[in-house]
C-alpha cells in the first residue's frame, strides 16, 4: 500500500464504527483502488460476494 493510501486508511479507519471488523475490508478496498481504480474495487467486492456464496 502506498503512503497515500496508508494515510487515507488511517484517516477513515479512525471513524469506522467497528474498526476491528471493517478495517481489513477498508484496506482491501483501498488496495483495489490503488491497483485498478473504481471498477477494480467493484470487481473485488463482487469476487468477495462470489466467494461467500461459494461460487
Amino acid at each position: 500500500m502506498s503512503i497515500f493510501s496508508k494515510r487515507l486508511y488511517e484517516e477513515l479507519s479512525q471513524r469506522l464504527a467497528r474498526k476491528d471488523k471493517h478495517g481489513e475490508l477498508l484496506k482491501l478496498l483501498l488496495q483495489w483502488l490503488e491497483e485498478g481504480g473504481g471498477d477494480a474495487m467493484k470487481d473485488g467486492v463482487k469476487e468477495m460476494v462470489k466467494r461467500i456464496k461459494g461460487e
Partner: protein, 839 residues
C-alpha cells in the same frame, strides 16, 4: 525513483504532420517551438503524449471523425508507419529510452502499437514495457492531459467542458480521487441484493420445502383413510398386493381375449417397484382400450347387421302388403281402362267443338235479330207518332193542298188591297196638286175638296183598320204551317220504307236458320234466345263430363305409377335379400329365411352384451390398481422428502452462515461508505484551502480581472454527483460570479492557466515537464508579458515546452527566458515531408 524526468531528445517519423524523420535534442532544457499555424508544432507535443501512453486523449474525447480514420500515422509515409522515440533522463542522469511504433490502422483508436522501453540497460517490450514505464512516469493519461500537456482545447474544457470530468480531475489533483471512487463505486446495492437473495432462499426452504414434508405426510394419511372408505384396505396398499392385482387383471384380459376371439398383446409381469408397476398400468390400460375397441367394432357390426336385415324384412313385407292392396295387379289393366276413357273424352270433345261453333252462330244471330227487331219497333212507334200528330198519309196530303190554296187566296187579297190603297193615295195626291173638279178618269165633275176629304177619310179608315196587315199576318201563319206537313209527309214515307226493309231482313234470317236446321217461330228473338240457352246448358254439361273423365284418367295414371313403383321397390328389396342369403325363394318363404337370420344375430348381440359387464369389471380392477399405484407413488415421494430433510437442514445452516457473512460485508461497506462520505467534505475543505492559495498566486501573476481578484473552487452536488464550480470574487469575497458568465476570452484563458498551473504543482507525477500549446490565445501584450515572466519562474523547476505562432509572445519569451535554459526552434514551413525546423 528520486528526481523528475525531463526530455533529453525526441525523434519522430511518420507521425501526424511529421513524415520524414525529425529529431530534436532538448538536452533536458525548456524550448519555444515557434512558427505559423499548421507547420507541425502541435504534432511534436502530441508525439510525446502518444509515445508515453500509446494514444491521444483528444482522439478519445475529441470529435467522432478521429474514429473514422487513422489520425496517428502520416498518410504520405512510404511504409505507412509512425515511429516516435523519446529519451528521458532524471536529475541523476538515469535514462529511459521509449520507442513506440504503429502501422496504419482503420481508425485512430483501433489497432495495436509496438512499445519498447529500455531502462538502465534493461530492455522491456509489450505490456511489461508499459507497466514499467507507468511506474516511472507515475502519471495516468488523464492526469497528463489535465496538468502536464495544456492542449489548445484544454482551456475550453477546464472552463466550459463537462463539470463532472473537470471535477474528477480536480479531485485527483487534490488527492481525493480514492475518496470519490470509494463513494461512487462501492456496490452497496449489489451486496444488499445478494444478501436478500440468500435470505429468500432460506425462507423458501424453511417455509416451502420443509413444510411440504409435513403437509405431504398429513395428506398421505388422509389419502389412506379415503382409500379405506372406497374398499381399499391398508393391507392392499403394498407393492406385492399391487403385483397380485396386476396378475389378476392380466388373467381377466386373457379371458376376454378368448371370448371375443382376439389377441391384443402379450403382457409381462411387473417388477416389484412403482416404476415397473406404472409401466404395467399403461400396458393394461392400452390392452383394455384395444379390447374395448375390438368389442365395440364387433358389437356395432352385429347390431348394424341385425338392424339392416330387420329393416329389409320390414320393407319387403310392406311392399308385398301394398301391392296386395291394389285390386289390379297388372299395370296394363290401368292402361286399357285409360284408353277407354280417352275415347269417351275425344267423342265429347267433338260434340263440344260443334256446340261451341253453333253457339257462336246463335250468338251472332241474337245480336242481329235483336237489333232488327228493335229497329222495327222504333220505326213503328215513329210512324204512329206522325199519324197521331198529322193523320195518315192521305190526310197529310189533303192538309198540304188546303194550306196551299189558302196561301194563294191571301196573296190575291193582299194584291187587291195594295192596289186600292195606291189608287186612293194617288187620287189624293193628284187632286191636291191638280185641284181640279173633273175626275181624271171619267172626266166627271167632282168637288175636289170634298173628294180630297173623302179620300183622306177613306185612307185614314183603312190605315186605322189595319186590314192589309191582318191579311199579311194570316199569310205568314199559313206559310209557316205548310212545311210541317210537308216534313211529316216526307218522314212518314221514309219510315215506312225502312220498316219494310227491316221486316224483310228478319224474314231473311229466319230463312237462314231454317236452312241450318233450326225451326224458328214467329218471335225470332225469343227463339234464338231460347236456343242459345239450351246450347250453353249442353256445353256446360259436356265440360263437366269431360272434367270427370279427365280426373278419372289422372287417377288411373297415378295409381298405375304407384303400382309400378311398388313393384320396383319390392323387386329391389327382394333382389337384395336373395343375394344376402343366397336363395331363390320369394314371398313368405323368403320372409321366413330372413326371420331365422335375425334370430341368429340377436343371439350374437346378447353374447356381446354379456362381455360388457366383464370389460366393466376389468376396468374397475384397473381403477383400483391406479389408485393404489398413485398412493404408493405419493408414499415414495414423501419418503424421499423425509430422507432429504437432513440435507435441507444442512443447506439452511450453510445459507444462514453465508447470509451472516454477506450481511457483515454489507454492514462493513455501509460503514465505510458513510464514513467516507462524511470525511470527504472535511478533506475537500482542507485540500481546497491549500490549493486556493496557489491558484490565487498564479491568477494574480498572470494579471487577473480588474474587479474579481480572487478565484475559488466551490464543491457542489449535481444530480447526486460531487462537482466543482469555478467562481471569481472581489477583493473582500463579497461579490462573486461564475467566470463563464462574465469573463472575456483572455480573462478566461488566464483563469484556465491559473488552474492548470496550480494543478501541476499538486500532481505526484515523476515527469518534470509542462507542455503548453498556444497558451497566449486572445491575450494582449500585458498579459503575454505577465505569462512569460511566470513561465520563466516555472522553468527553473520544470522543463517547459511552449508551442506558439504569436510573434509578440515569442519575442517576449525570448527576452524574459534565461538564455541557457531555453532553446528556440523555428518552424519555417510545412511540406509533404513534414516541417522544416531550424534552431
Amino acid at each position: 525513483m528520486a528526481g523528475k524526468l525531463r526530455i533529453q531528445s525526441i525523434s519522430i517519423e511518420g507521425f501526424r504532420g511529421v513524415n520524414k524523420k525529425t529529431s530534436m535534442n532538448f538536452a533536458k532544457k525548456s524550448a519555444i517551438l515557434f512558427g505559423p499555424n499548421g507547420v507541425g508544432k502541435t504534432s511534436i507535443l502530441q508525439a510525446l503524449e502518444w509515445c508515453f501512453f500509446g494514444g491521444l486523449i483528444s482522439a478519445i474525447v475529441g470529435p467522432p471523425e478521429f474514429k473514422k480514420e487513422d489520425a496517428i500515422v502520416n498518410s504520405f509515409h512510404p511504409q505507412k508507419r509512425a515511429t516516435v522515440e523519446v529519451v528521458l533522463e532524471d536529475e541523476k542522469n538515469r535514462r529511459i529510452k521509449i520507442t513506440r511504433e504503429r502501422k496504419k490502422g482503420r481508425s485512430t483508436t483501433s489497432g495495436k502499437t509496438k512499445l519498447e522501453v529500455e531502462i538502465g540497460g534493461t530492455q522491456y517490450s509489450g505490456e511489461k514495457a508499459q507497466t514499467e514505464l507507468n511506474k516511472w512516469l507515475r502519471t495516468t493519461p488523464t492526469e497528463f492531459y489535465a496538468s502536464i500537456h495544456l492542449h489548445q482545447e484544454a482551456v475550453r474544457d477546464l472552463l466550459v467542458g463537462d463539470p463532472l470530468v473537470r471535477s474528477e480531475m480536480i479531485d485527483k489533483l487534490l488527492g481525493l480521487h480514492f475518496v470519490r471512487e470509494l463513494i461512487e463505486y462501492i456496490p452497496l446495492k449489489y451486496v444488499a441484493k445478494e444478501a436478500k437473495s440468500i435470505e429468500e432462499e432460506i425462507e423458501d426452504i424453511q417455509t416451502r420445502k420443509m413444510q411440504e414434508v409435513a403437509i405431504s405426510k398429513k395428506r398421505l394419511a388422509e389419502l389412506e383413510i379415503e382409500m379405506e372408505k372406497t374398499g381399499i384396505g391398508a393391507t392392499s396398499l403394498s407393492v406385492s398386493s399391487l403385483m397380485k392385482l396386476a396378475e389378476d387383471t392380466m388373467v381377466k384380459i386373457s379371458d376376454i381375449e378368448q371370448k371375443i376371439e382376439t389377441k391384443v398383446k402379450v403382457l409381462e409381469k411387473p417388477q416389484p417397484d412403482t416404476k415397473s408397476l406404472e409401466k404395467t398400468l399403461g400396458e393394461l390400460k392400452n390392452s383394455i382400450g384395444k379390447l374395448e375397441g375390438v368389442w365395440t367394432t364387433a358389437y356395432k357390426e352385429v347390431v348394424t347387421k341385425a338392424s339392416s336385415v330387420e329393416s329389409l324384412k320390414q320393407d319387403y313385407e310392406e311392399a308385398l302388403k301394398e301391392i296386395a292392396s291394389f285390386k289390379i295387379k297388372d299395370p296394363q289393366d290401368f292402361v286399357d281402362k285409360k284408353s277407354n276413357i280417352d275415347a269417351q273424352i275425344s267423342a265429347l270433345q267433338k260434340e263440344l267443338d260443334s256446340k261451341i261453333s253453333t253457339r257462336s252462330l246463335l250468338q251472332d244471330e241474337v245480336t242481329l235479330v235483336q237489333r232488327l227487331s228493335s229497329n222495327v219497333k222504333g220505326l213503328e212507334l215513329d210512324i204512329k207518332k206522325i199519324e197521331q200528330d198529322f193523320g195518315d198519309e192521305a190526310k197529310i196530303e189533303a192538309s198540304i193542298n188546303k194550306l196551299q190554296s189558302q196561301i194563294e187566296e191571301k196573296r190575291a187579297r193582299i194584291k187587291q188591297e195594295e192596289a186600292l190603297n195606291s189608287i186612293l193615295i194617288s187620287g189624293l195626291d193628284y187632286l191636291k196638286s191638280a185641284l181640279t173638279n173633273n175626275c181624271p178618269l171619267c172626266k166627271s165633275d167632282i168637288e175636289y175638296a170634298k173628294v180630297i176629304t173623302t179620300l183622306q177619310k177613306e185612307i185614314e179608315q183603312r190605315e186605322g183598320a189595319k186590314l192589309l196587315r191582318q191579311i199579311q199576318k194570316e199569310l205568314e201563319g199559313l206559310t209557316k204551317e205548310k212545311p210541317n206537313f210537308e216534313n211529316a209527309l216526307f218522314n212518314f214515307r221514309r219510315l215506312k220504307g225502312e220498316l219494310e226493309r227491316s221486316r224483310s231482313l228478319i224474314e231473311q234470317e229466319k230463312e237462314k236458320l231454317k236452312e241450318k236446321g233450326f225451326k224458328p217461330t214467329e218471335d225470332l228473338v225469343s227463339y234464338v234466345d231460347s236456343e242459345l240457352k239450351e246450347i250453353n246448358n249442353r256445353i256446360s254439361n259436356l265440360d263437366e263430363q269431360m272434367r270427370q273423365l279427365k280426373a278419372e284418367a289422372t287417377e288411373i295414371d297415378l295409381r298405375a305409377n304407384d303400382l309400378r313403383g311398388k313393384i320396383e321397390k319390392l323387386s329391389s328389396v327382394e333382389k337384395e335379400i336373395k343375394k344376402m342369403f343366397d336363395t331363390t325363394e320369394t314371398g313368405e318363404k323368403l320372409v321366413e329365411i330372413v326371420n331365422e337370420r335375425i334370430g341368429e344375430l340377436l343371439g350374437q348381440s346378447k353374447t356381446l352384451d354379456e362381455m360388457t359387464e366383464e370389460l366393466k369389471g376389468t376396468k374397475g380392477m384397473l381403477e383400483t390398481y391406479e389408485k393404489i399405484l398413485s398412493f404408493l407413488k405419493e408414499k415414495d415421494r414423501v419418503d424421499k422428502l423425509e430422507e432429504g430433510m437432513p440435507i435441507l437442514q444442512q443447506r439452511v445452516k450453510d445459507l444462514q452462515e453465508k447470509y451472516s457473512k454477506m450481511k457483515e460485508l454489507e454492514a462493513g461497506l455501509t460503514d465505510i461508505y458513510q464514513v467516507t462520505s462524511t470525511a470527504r467534505e472535511e478533506m475537500i475543505k482542507q485540500a481546497l484551502s491549500d490549493l486556493q492559495l496557489t491558484i490565487k498566486s498564479y491568477y494574480s501573476k498572470i494579471l487577473c480581472h480588474p474587479y474579481y481578484l480572487n478565484l475559488q473552487l466551490i464543491p457542489e452536488k449535481e444530480r447526486g454527483k460531487a462537482i466543482y464550480r469555478i467562481r471569481a470574487w472581489d477583493k473582500d469575497f463579497k461579490q462573486g460570479t461564475y467566470v463563464q458568465t462574465r469573463f472575456s476570452n483572455a480573462q478566461m484563458n488566464a483563469v484556465a492557466l491559473s488552474l492548470f498551473l496550480s494543478m501541476t504543482t499538486r500532481l505526484p507525477s515523476n515527469l518534470g515537464l509542462i507542455l503548453l500549446d498556444d497558451p497566449s490565445q486572445s491575450m494582449d501584450r500585458t498579459h503575454k508579458e505577465a505569462l512569460s515572466k511566470l513561465l520563466s519562474q516555472i522553468l527553473e523547476e520544470k522543463q517547459v515546452l511552449v508551442a506558439t505562432q504569436d510573434t509578440e509572445f515569442e519575442q517576449t519569451m525570448q527576452r524574459v527566458f534565461p538564455k541557457d535554459k531555453a532553446l528556440i526552434y523555428n518552424f519555417k514551413e510545412w511540406s509533404l515531408e513534414g516541417p522544416k525546423i531550424t534552431q
